[in-house]
């Protein structure tokens, strides 16, 4: 296993820049997630690490070697594709052994490694089958096995779970994480699924329009988003954003949104002092919007009044959609909370969990 380093990597197709100046340091044994909406450049970045796309500029190192212009076969990496890309004319065994055979690994060694990988993945009984005789989940395992037997410096995975059904995806996610711990592998994993990113990654790289937005641990991405894009892309339902204006009265800073006033806690006030104008965006996650009476009573500074527009009972919780005049927010309420659509209620935003963004640049003020 080895580290993977990207230095100022860019990819241009004619006039379009698909990946812009990406610099990443993937540490040895790290499970790094590239997360972003489709077209954000995450797959292109991965394919450049694999050598399937040429770099327009920048450099890529795997281990201590500069591989920027090395063909894929000599990079000593393995890749798992979204569509598995198994070789249809070869048996499961041959699929997994192919890369080793090309590298002239001795036969007994090939057999040992394939058997071992098949054991780990629970496909020992399928070695003589052809890919078309396998189910989607089994094919997925074969594709993983083909990567494992190679014992590469790094694993590259391009949305490997997105063709599985929901139940299998959850199950495989857990197995993949366990596999990472067991193999001590360096993995770069591309996904648009934030659940996969949050549950499996040691660090997450959030990308948008070819530009890296933030590199952080799942915890950091969730609790300290660097900008509004990251804040709203990660988390379901998305973080609530409230546009408003600041008014300063001595030491206290008041936030006015939809004609309602809120006194901002000191850490927000401190951060907001960097702003020159008065426009600001306040962010708050649905679970930090409180609607129960006891909780609201405890938070007198940050109360707002809102009309209940819709309640979605999810079983373990209730999703409450609230109108604040021109803006709306979502709150997560306990499943023993009851409200009536159309009622005006007072809710409170947890002051410790507030985020603040520059209205012009959309960047977080809290870092």
């Amino acid at each position: 296993m080895a580290s993977v380093v990207l230095e100022h990597v860019s990819k241009r197709y004619g006039q379009v820049e698909a990946v812009h100046d990406v610099t990443l340091n993937v540490e040895d044994q790290e499970f790094l997630i590239l997360l972003g909406p489709s077209g954000c450049g995450k797959t292109t970045t991965l394919r450049m690490v694999a050598g399937l796309e040429d770099l327009s500029s920048g450099a890529i190192h795997i281990g201590s070697r500069d591989v920027s212009h090395v063909p894929p076969k000599d990079r000593d990496i393995a890749m798992v594709f979204q569509n598995y890309a198994l070789y249809p004319h070869m048996s499961v065994f041959e699929n997994m052994a192919f890369g080793l055979k090309l590298r002239k690994v001795p036969k007994p060694e090939i057999e040992r490694r394939v058997k071992e990988a098949a054991e780990i993945l629970g496909i020992g009984g399928l070695l003589d089958r052809k890919p078309k005789e396998l189910s989607g989940g089994q094919r997925q395992r074969v594709a993983l096995g083909r990567a494992i037997v190679r014992e590469p410096l790094a694993f590259l995975m391009d949305e490997p779970l997105s063709n599985l059904d929901a139940k299998l995806r959850t199950q495989t996610r857990v197995e993949l994480k366990r596999l990472h711990q067991r193999l001590g592998a360096t993995i770069i994993y591309v996904t648009h699924d934030q659940t996969e990113a949050m549950t499996m990654g040691t660090r997450i790289v959030v990308m948008k329009d070819g530009i890296v937005q933030q590199v952080d641990t799942p915890d950091g991405i969730y609790h300290r988003p660097a900008n509004q894009f990251v804040a709203t892309f990660v988390g379901t339902p998305a973080m609530n954003l409230l546009r408003g204006a600041l008014t300063r009265q001595g030491d206290t800073l008041t936030f006015r949104t939809d004609d309602q006033l809120m006194t901002l806690p000191s850490h927000i006030a401190h951060a907001a002092s960097a702003l020159t104008g008065e426009a600001m965006v306040l962010g708050i996650r649905p679970e930090d919007v409180h609607v129960s009476q006891e909780a609201v009573a405890r938070l007198p500074q940050t109360q707002i009044r809102a009309v209940i527009r819709l309640i979605e009972p999810m079983g373990h919780e209730n999703m409450v959609y609230l109108d604040l005049g021109t803006q709306s927010i979502t709150a997560r309420a306990a499943n023993d909370w009851y409200g009536t659509v159309g009622d005006t209620i007072t809710c409170a935003l947890d002051p410790a969990r507030l985020h603040a963004f520059d209205a012009a640049t959309e960047k977080s003020l809290l870092s």
Partner: protein
């Protein structure tokens, strides 16, 4: 509804059977005439089944045509193989290793499909003479290989378009390069492509008359030319003539019957996603 559908179905079968019978009538005449003795052949009785079927004319035809049969196999098998392999290589490059201008090159190759053979005969003859391949089977092999490239390129390019790129990328990462991918991935998946191109090319080369009659003299002529020479004798032996035609058409028929079933086989099933 059911009755109507059954009636329609029945009608289709009746029409198709009649069309098939009409199509098979000349072949019937060829077969029965070849089984008659020359004396019993007349225009009045041409539809009749022979009273005393005899294979004498088939034997006579074979003894006359055997060397030319040899020529034809010696011509058709290498020409089919070479043009199929070249077509496969072209198709591989033009579908999986696109480069700037590859579409223009593909278009230019396809252009070869639309050149009428008659228009190139005289210069072709001169060229073959100059390079010393006139009046030889290797010369004909060369001509048919080259004239086969456009159609085989088209067949393989379209066939390879169905091989997913991801699979070839997986092979690249597993350690293959340009030739490795062709050898280990593309070629094993090409069986149906080779069957299609092979049947087509074999039939074309075997049945070709124009190049053969222009570029070869006896005894180097393929069976198609020899067939016409038999008809050119002073007294026409209809039974031998028909028997020769029957023999000359057998190989292409057999190729189709033996290989035709591979047409249907979908070897790619399950390669990407089921």
């Amino acid at each position: 509804m059911m009755a109507l559908r059954r009636f329609n179905r029945g009608l289709i079968y009746v029409v198709l059977t009649l069309a098939a019978l009409l199509y098979l009538l000349p072949i019937y005449v060829v077969v029965v005439t070849s089984l008659k003795t020359n004396a019993t052949i007349s225009l009045q009785h041409m539809w009749n089944f022979p009273l005393h079927p005899s294979f004498a004319s088939l034997a006579a035809a074979w003894s006359q045509l055997a060397p030319n049969f040899g020529n034809s196999f010696y011509l058709a098998i290498p020409a089919t193989l070479f043009s199929s392999i070249l077509g496969a290589l072209n198709g591989y490059v033009l579908s999986k290793w696109r480069f700037k201008g590859s579409n223009i090159i593909f278009f230019l190759i396809l252009f070869g499909l639309f050149i009428p053979y008659q228009s190139v005969l005289i210069p072709l003859l001169r060229i073959m003479d100059t390079i010393g391949l006139y009046n030889s089977i290797p010369g004909l092999i060369l001509v048919h290989t080259i004239y086969g490239i456009p159609i085989t390129t088209l067949i393989f390019r379209n066939f390879y378009a169905s091989i997913p790129d991801e699979m070839l990328e997986a092979a690249k990462i597993d350690g293959t390069g340009y030739w490795g991918i062709f050898r280990y991935m593309v070629l094993p998946l090409s069986v149906s492509g080779f069957v299609v191109a092979g049947i087509w090319q074999f039939t074309q080369v075997w049945n070709n008359f124009l190049f053969a009659v222009t570029l070869t003299n006896p005894p180097n002529q393929p069976v198609t030319v020899a067939l016409v020479n038999i008809a050119g004798s002073q007294t026409i032996q209809w039974n031998v003539q028909m028997a020769s035609a029957l023999l000359a058409s057998l190989p292409t028929l057999l190729v189709y019957i033996i290989l035709g079933k591979y047409f249907v086989r979908g070897l790619l099933a399950g390669s990407v996603k089921g």
